[in-house]
């Protein structure tokens, strides 16, 4: 089985909110100094889902990412988890927050990689969280799409997918090739072994520019974005928390009385 996993490098979303800074003029987020970027959570879980398939069946996993040269780190992370190969799609023309552009670039890279059985994406990115690249990519590749998966297994007809809905799970069967977006309910991703980390460090990561994947440059030009971010603000939150002093027991009694008076 040939599996392609699309991953993204993002600013670490786990920094304390007080360290989160933006530039409202450029509508950009200012990365906190000294905090390295990370792989987006759901993408890491998509990799985990791919690796679980590879644990069980004969599978080849290829990871791709769009980003700056630093983003090769997420490909190395993918390889350390279990991916066989990876490509970095890096070109100044790729710079964009538009989901259609992102999906288009990914679709062209996938075309170049060749035949696939399964494409996995995270359900949304941990930064801008547009939540649609996977679905748009599926439409571009003209394959069936299943969203919010938490478990994937192989059956006669293709894949059996467990997907998360608000009050339970749906089980679906979908033929391959297909695209599946992965939700965090997959569970924690594996910790790479020292040996795989070594392997990932040595692995050459090919870089593909627009011309390498036959991209029509005109489609990447400004003005082709489907959506545009015209403002960015950090919501103001003023703290008015009343802190209870005293021993834990005194606090417990105080809280108990307040709760009872409110109910």
């Amino acid at each position: 089985m040939n599996i392609i996993v699309c991953v993204k490098q993002v600013q670490d979303p786990e920094i304390p909110p007080s360290k989160f800074k933006i530039d409202p003029e450029t509508k950009q987020v200012i990365p906190p100094a000294g905090v390295p970027p990370v792989i987006s959570v759901y993408d890491e879980r998509a990799l985990e889902a791919a690796c679980r398939l590879k644990d069980k069946y004969k599978a080849k996993i290829v990871a791709i990412t769009i980003g700056t040269d630093k983003a090769s780190e997420v490909i190395r992370h993918a390889i350390s988890m279990g991916a066989d190969d990876g490509y970095l799609l890096c070109d100044p023309a790729f710079e964009s927050k538009d989901s259609f552009k992102t999906a288009y670039i990914l679709s062209k890279a996938i075309e170049k990689i060749g035949a696939f059985d399964l494409v996995l994406c995270g359900r949304q990115a941990a930064d801008w969280g547009a939540g649609q690249v996977g679905s748009i990519l599926g439409e571009m590749l003209t394959v069936p799409v299943v969203s919010f998966a938490c478990d994937i297994d192989v059956v006669d007809t293709g894949l059996r997918v467990k997907r998360v809905v608000s009050d339970g799970y749906e089980i679906l069967e979908v033929p391959m090739p297909c695209l599946i977006t992965v939700s965090s309910e997959v569970g924690l991703p594996r910790l790479p072994s020292g040996m795989r980390i070594m392997l990932a460090r040595k692995k050459p990561i090919p870089v593909w520019k627009a011309t390498d994947i036959n991209i029509e440059h005109s489609l990447l030009e400004k003005g082709h974005e489907h959506t545009e971010i015209i403002g960015l603000v950090v919501p103001e939150r003023k703290s008015e928390c009343e802190i209870i002093k005293g021993t834990p027991k005194e606090a417990a009694y105080e809280i108990a009385e307040r709760l009872v008076s409110m109910l």
Binding site: E173, C178, L188, L232, Y253, L259, L263
Partner: protein, 333 residues
């Protein structure tokens, strides 16, 4: 934006023969947008029995209700719904489409967008119209709720998903007039690629999280599954339900369905008790609607104290037992 797309479309949802609340909420905001655009408000309803819901939808703000009584559409199927919505939109050319940020909306809106090539913003908290340019302005949380982005779409249809309870439904107005129009298109069942073969309902004992008046929520600081039984005890005493952060769900201390936050459930109880959780924005965005937030955390710098009303800085293990004991006394249990 020069184009021939007009009118606001709400993608409606029906459950057990009734229009669900989120759809009425979308009709309310959709009505406002349509009025600001000087356009009409359409509603789409799919599945058997939807035709007779049309009149009611009109009393809640719709001008035209399109419905399909096709049996195949009784249950949500991603492939069929995407197809039906796509072919309808190509015919009717709406300028705006609104979806609930629900199981259906979160799946359908991105797929429809991929097929139709519009511009979609998910999880919107506010929508308005730029009356001069006649386009939709959408505001949505980004970076896990650390920032709010204002987004416009350069393409039509301009699409948005909106969280339940963001807007109030309109008062029912029996004098409103409108049309109820059947969709006659036959559906080809071979369009179904991904087939739902089973549905597993997560059983909840006691109060449902979304409906609970009191939610007791725990995070990494709770440390294990066993400790969560103490939180459950507290919740039971207060007639509430337990919730959790993603960390606690990931660790398997509680089922994934108890996750509260941006990528989990959104709750707005009377009282939210946050124990051993830091208050990451991605979590907070799921409970900001709570009337009263109580926080217990040993780190005085934790972000939860920026949103809580009442807090105690300390180890929850020393607070919870006397708290439970005292509540028992006060409630005479």
């Amino acid at each position: 934006m020069e184009n021939n797309h007009r009118n606001v479309l709400v993608f409606g949802e029906v459950l057990m023969g009734k229009i669900v609340p989120i759809t009425l909420e979308l009709l309310a905001i959709g009505r406002r947008l349509a009025d600001d655009l000087g356009e009409e408000l359409y509603l789409m309803l799919l599945g058997e029995g939807t035709g007779r819901l049309g009149e009611e939808a009109i009393t809640f703000g719709a001008d035209q209700v399109y419905f399909s009584e096709e049996k195949l559409l009784n249950q949500y199927n991603s492939d069929l719904y995407t197809h039906v919505a796509d072919s309808f939109c190509r015919r009717v050319l709406p300028s705006v489409i609104l979806f609930g940020h629900t199981d259906i909306g979160c799946d359908l809106a991105p797929r429809l967008n991929g097929r139709i090539g519009g511009g979609l913003s998910i999880d919107c908290m506010d929508l308005s119209i730029d009356k001069e340019k006649k386009h939709l302005i959408m505001r949505r949380p980004v970076f896990g709720g650390n920032a709010i982005a204002t987004v416009i779409s350069n393409r039509v249809p301009q699409m948005a998903t909106i969280r339940p309870k963001t807007f109030q439904p309109l008062e029912k107005n029996l004098s409103r007039q409108g049309d109820v129009i059947p969709l006659e298109e036959k559906i080809d069942p071979s369009l179904i690629k991904a087939r739902v073969v089973n549905y597993i309902k997560e059983e909840v004992e006691g109060v449902k999280l979304e409906e609970a008046e009191v939610v007791v929520s725990g995070g990494r600081g709770i440390e294990d599954k066993k400790n969560f039984t103490l939180l459950k005890e507290l919740a039971d005493l207060l007639g509430g339900a337990i919730g959790a952060t993603r960390v606690a769900c990931d660790e398997g201390w509680v089922p994934a369905h108890l996750q509260i936050g941006q990528s989990g459930k959104v709750v707005s109880p009377k009282i939210y008790i946050a124990i051993g959780l830091s208050g990451a924005m991605a979590h907070i965005s799921g409970c900001l609607g709570s009337k009263y937030i109580v926080a217990i955390n040993k780190d005085s710098e934790a972000n939860i104290f920026n949103v809580a009303h009442l807090g105690f800085v300390g180890d929850w293990k020393e607070v919870l037992p006397p708290l439970i004991e005292r509540l028992r006394e006060l409630k005479g249990k």
